[in-house]
Symmetry: C2
Subunit: 315 residues, 2 copies
Amino acid sequence: MIKHELVEKLLSSNHRAVARSISIVESDPAQATDLLKKIFQKVGNAYRIGITGPPGAGKSTITNQLTKHFRKQNKKVGIVAVDPTSPFTGGALLGDRVRMNEIGMDEGVFIRSMATRGSLGGLSKRAIDAADVLDAAGFDLIIFETVGVGQSELDIAEAADTTVVVLVPESGDAVQAMKAGLMEIADFIVMNKSDRPGSKQAITSLQTILMMRDHDEKSWMMNIIGSIASENEGIEDIAKEIERHQRFLTENNLIIKNRERRLRKRIKDIVENKIKEELWNDESENYLTSSLEKVVLGNLSPYHIAEEIISNFKN
Amino acid sequence: MIKHELVEKLLSSNHRAVARSISIVESDPAQATDLLKKIFQKVGNAYRIGITGPPGAGKSTITNQLTKHFRKQNKKVGIVAVDPTSPFTGGALLGDRVRMNEIGMDEGVFIRSMATRGSLGGLSKRAIDAADVLDAAGFDLIIFETVGVGQSELDIAEAADTTVVVLVPESGDAVQAMKAGLMEIADFIVMNKSDRPGSKQAITSLQTILMMRDHDEKSWMMNIIGSIASENEGIEDIAKEIERHQRFLTENNLIIKNRERRLRKRIKDIVENKIKEELWNDESENYLTSSLEKVVLGNLSPYHIAEEIISNFKN
């Protein structure tokens, strides 16, 4: 059971309570459920921004610069950075330490990195739960920063009100992004490092790709914003485009509608994860172990074993 | 119900029956289960090779050249290529057409591309089921070719007896591969385009990364093989390294043991997918729809709704 004191401190934006709560979300599913039930009424005020793109596009730099920009407007910023770190490196969060020096000492900023492997539960569930913690703690803006590869990462980027896809003018980058499904989740695109050669051609080919897309009935016009994040160029344009998208969503009553759509997916994930937990116990694991050899020898199909396990689960 | 005739033709390696069977696996879960139950006793003779790595590393070229090499040894080769194509491009399989000209007219080769989105069922399930179809049809070698990003792609690469990770000497490529979890699934590494500048440094940094890893008790020594696949250089070395790994597995009784481990995961996936199918029906979907607004308004937590749905499912 989550202590009342932790909830109180979390809701009053105490950083240690926020950190403790996110650790619970990451490591203890039962406690996490209890915590999230207790804070749910305080969730829903933060605006959520997803920043995604291929490795090396400058997502972290943009996140840092945007955070500084929002801090000047006195907005509190929570960052959930999803780092595809393999377990055998010990999940080195070097990026975090670099950031901590820059923006992490600011009381109005909270940064949390999550590894993609080696923790309990689904990655996107943990990241979205962490955002709920930050939301309840009173952060005005929550930024999900994630590499745009793989389904979990897409799920996280999609869990934002506004999703920004960051690309660089490398040849083929736009095509790769399209293939990886990034264009479908983008609300606008940032062409970072736009002082590099090939930037104009990259923007042209992006525009071609965007023209191929079906147009949204609500007629949101997707822009491409140039930036050189390392020199703080274009950051204000990115912030303005986020605000323009937020206004568009508000004027078309889409904020609630979109959140309901995402919530549907999230509840389904919660249900499926809970069932999995109940399904795999000592009994079913032992049955599985004892059946494997028969399957390898060709005496039973994996589908027969699966049916048997399901039938046992139901009875 | 799958017709006896299709099964007969499939088992006699008829290409149209193979194509039809893989289409069933991709599009019709109930029929797929029936088919796979009927062919299971014929599955298990093929040796499976995973070829993975970042986009642009030359995986397709290596797959094609390796296929030509194996064909000279009179081995039949089935290829399952997983292409992260987004649905709105219509899943353009240009790569396939290019290949078809080169190796696809050969009766001893079968190539199938799979899109990562827009089909029923999990991607890795479909790819592994397709490999079973090819295995039953008498292909001696099955190559999974997949971009090394995201969990599904890792799952597919891991479903092979021997997994080859292809890198190019770009700065940071090795580090990215490590972060993406590729090093953990590699049985050996190919440094393709090894005539490029920086190749030696890239190999040195790879060796450093490999030294950081825990050593396997069975003492498999992971090699780094240089290649220039576009000029057919190093292909024979890659084939020899695959054979060396196969011998290592055989001598240490690891082929069956590894297949059992993978089978355990696969059966779990089958069970979980089947339960999901049963879980989400009109009734549960409608209940979910009617509850969403309450959650958005903060009157109910997603966890309450989830518990209600689970309790309904069980009763």
